[in-house]
């Protein structure tokens, strides 16, 4: 039987927990740490596949909830999966659909069977079970698929509910694993839950460790919790999980968060942020985000970022982008290309610095660029201290 994944750690930072690896998936060999752009409905908003390849996107994410509704499972089966349907021949990852339901549909109800929800289109009641989620994800055919988990808002104060969700997530994992039809082609990742409670996180991690899987996701974060809680939970979950398997922190996309999560040992990330912020006219730079709608760019004939290698920066000035932003839809493409290039280059710099064993230096320089006045957020200083990086 063929293996759905081979994960080889190439280099490990001698100071922090950061590592760089090759994750060989059925459709592509992905270099980690990696950022995965989100293509909710089977396209990265306004960006061509050719552009994604040029930017060196290696794995993109699709949303099971949206794809299950449209174009639907039957069509995806006929198209022989999402890869084929959208013409993407690198790696794909799909979420379970559960998070989308709970966050988009306030009327979602969860019980042991699954997630009950009302269709936003016709109000009919449906039930998303772990089996159903895997069925849809099998039809989509992504290289990595997610278990359905019992999602409780991160900021919930209901500890009993959180505990129930932790155990239930583990029970649902077993149902997902037994419903899975293509273990030789698709990898199910369990999701470590437990909210912001240390013991529940440990419990969740340990329950998952008993199952045979090729990688793990760290979930239930990036939901409005304090940064102080966020990094501690990432650190704790990451330490629980084995070093020879990839660790995916869900919903992380800010540059600073990415760098710190890498230092704590995480390998994979996803977020709508770079493409969403592009739609609002914002461009990412090593010094933070700039809004091109701002009048100060009207006569600025520099590219967004002088050293950026993207086609937008090579061709257009801030003044031009200022003119077309928010009026011409092509601006969305141009800014998305830049922002995704920024994310991919950031991850590449992280990987390169780990290979050269210069990651701690890279982190210090990166942080100084982001905070030239050295007013580093306290959570960054604290998080990095635990992996022996001092911010001066």
């Amino acid at each position: 039987m063929e293996k759905a994944m081979q994960f080889d750690v190439i280099a490990t930072c001698s100071t922090t927990k950061a590592r760089t690896s090759l994750m060989k998936l059925p459709h592509y060999t992905v270099e980690t740490p990696i950022f995965m752009p989100v293509g909710t409905k089977g396209s990265i908003k306004s960006v061509l596949l050719e552009q994604l390849e040029d930017i060196n996107c290696q794995i993109i994410l699709g949303n099971t909830y949206h794809l299950g509704l449209r174009p639907g499972v039957e069509l995806l089966k006929k198209a022989k999966g999402l890869h084929n349907f959208m013409g993407w021949n690198r790696a794909l990852l799909t979420d379970s659909g559960g998070f989308q339901m709970v966050s988009l549909l306030h009327m979602a109800e969860i019980n042991e069977q699954g997630v009950n929800f009302k269709s936003p289109y016709d109000g009919t009641k449906s039930l998303l079970t772990p089996e159903k989620s895997i069925q849809i994800q099998n039809a989509i055919g992504a290289d990595i698929i997610m278990q359905l988990d019992d999602v409780v808002p991160t900021t919930s104060k209901d500890d009993a509910r959180m505990e129930e969700a932790t155990y239930r997530t583990s029970r649902w994992l077993d149902r997902c694993l037994s419903a899975h039809e293509y273990p030789e082609k698709q990898n199910i990742f369990p999701i470590v839950q437990g909210g912001l409670i240390d013991n529940l996180r440990k419990l969740s991690g340990n329950l998952h460790l008993q199952r045979k899987v090729n990688g793990y996701a760290i979930g239930g974060l990036s939901g409005g919790e304090a940064k102080d809680d966020f990094w501690k939970m990432v650190s704790l979950s990451s330490q629980l999980l084995p070093c020879n398997k990839p660790k995916y922190v869900m919903g992380v996309g800010f540059a600073v968060d990415l760098v710190i999560c890498c230092a704590l040992g995480a390998d994979m990330f996803d977020c709508v942020f770079p493409t969403r912020t592009a739609r609002f006219g914002c461009a990412l730079t090593p010094h933070g985000q700039i809004n091109l709608k701002n009048n100060k760019y009207k006569m600025d004939f520099e590219p967004i970022e002088k050293n950026c290698i993207c086609s937008t920066c090579k061709t257009y000035t801030r003044a031009y982008l200022h003119q077309i932003v928010s009026t011409e839809s092509v601006s969305c493409n141009l800014l998305s290309v830049h922002n995704l290039t920024y994310q991919m280059q950031l991850m590449k710099s992280i990987r390169d610095s780990i290979k050269e064993n210069k990651f701690p230096k890279f982190v210090q320089k990166f942080m100084l660029n982001m905070y030239p006045n050295k007013n580093y957020p306290k959570w960054c200083i604290d998080a990095l201290k635990t992996v022996s990086i001092e911010l001066e």
């Binding site: 409905k41 089977g42 069509l75 198209a79 349907f85 257009y316 969305c332 493409n333």
Partner: protein, 317 residues
């Protein structure tokens, strides 16, 4: 460094004019030799000095001189007469300024022929403008103020006017027309001697979520091009123009159509994607859908012109 560099099209030619031929641009009131232009920030009044200041900054490869061109089928004779008079005056002022300008030495001047749908006024305008030798070409202007209705203007309404006007113009100068004229009308206009068109038609096709797919055969007979377009209905009474040259990919019949938009098209959208995928993107309101349609429609339109040039070249050797 000029307009071409600013918009990232350094290796292309640019042509500046004051109208966007895909928009409805009802004008404000023009004041004595000042032209009212509709912009994103409302109507502005512009005189030839201000216009030429802008052109000097843009440094386009060619540009149309400032004119009053807000005439259409319904325009009164006096309005048409006025547009010819003022446009001619503005033309002279712009040209004078052009000759004094150092930075515009490399730019060509396009003279806008006015006259609405009045043949006498068209001839008057063309005769006046053709006396100037230092022009790059002529624009057939003033046929519409609303770019969104051009497709509905019957070809036989403008063709006699275009043909009569052509007789007054020197053969060796470029002839330009803007707007989304139908493919049949484009062929007729080329036969009349028109050289340059814009991309309004593929733009509108994309706007209605459609793809150009007409199959055509171009023949050369008695010094003119004849287009045989099949797969499309030839019924002149067919009011549903969306059926004749294009398919609407929003139509549910493409839900599971795993063919490319057009088998023989070599554009990126056709090489990589299916009708089903583009249908899905359009139904899901994904920008990539119209992006792929734009790529296909522009490619198809380009190929159409390439084929026309080939037929003309082959038969004129």
């Amino acid at each position: 460094h000029g307009l071409n560099k600013f918009v990232g099209l350094e290796n292309y030619l640019s042509c500046c004019s004051t109208i966007d031929s895909v928009l409805n641009t009802p004008r404000g009131k023009n004041q004595k030799d000042k032209v009212s232009l509709k912009t994103k920030s409302g109507n502005i009044l512009i005189d030839y000095e201000k216009y030429m200041d802008i052109i000097e900054v843009f440094k386009p490869n060619m540009y149309v001189t400032l004119s009053i061109s807000d005439t259409d089928w319904d325009s009164s004779y006096s309005l048409i007469e006025k547009s010819v008079n003022i446009s001619n005056r503005l033309f002279m002022s712009c040209l004078e300024r052009h000759h004094k300008s150092e930075v515009l030495k490399g730019s060509g001047v396009i003279a806008p022929i006015q006259g609405g749908y009045n043949i006498q006024e068209r001839i008057r305008s063309a005769t006046f403008l053709s006396e100037y030798n230092d022009l790059l070409g002529f624009l057939f202007d003033g046929f519409f103020t609303d770019g969104t209705v051009v497709e509905d203007i019957p070809g036989n309404l403008i063709l006699p006017i275009v043909n009569k006007t052509m007789e007054c113009l020197p053969k060796d100068k470029m002839k330009i027309i803007f707007g989304a004229w139908t493919l049949d009308t484009i062929i007729d206009l080329i036969n009349s001697g028109m050289d340059i068109f814009d991309s309004s038609l593929p733009f509108f096709t994309t706007e209605r979520n459609s793809a150009l797919i007409f199959n055509y055969e171009l023949k050369y007979k008695n010094d003119i091009i004849i287009m045989d377009s099949h797969c499309c209905t030839t019924d002149q009474n067919n009011v549903d123009k969306s059926n004749s040259f294009e398919i609407c990919l929003m139509d549910t019949c493409y839900f599971e159509d795993f063919n490319p938009i057009n088998e023989s098209c070599s554009c990126l959208a056709c090489r990589k994607h299916t009708r089903a995928y583009i249908h899905h993107l359009l139904m899901s309101n994904e920008l990539l859908g119209s992006l792929l349609l734009t790529i296909h429609n522009l490619h198809y339109f380009h190929q159409f012109f390439k084929d026309i040039r080939e037929v003309l070249l082959k038969n004129n050797q």
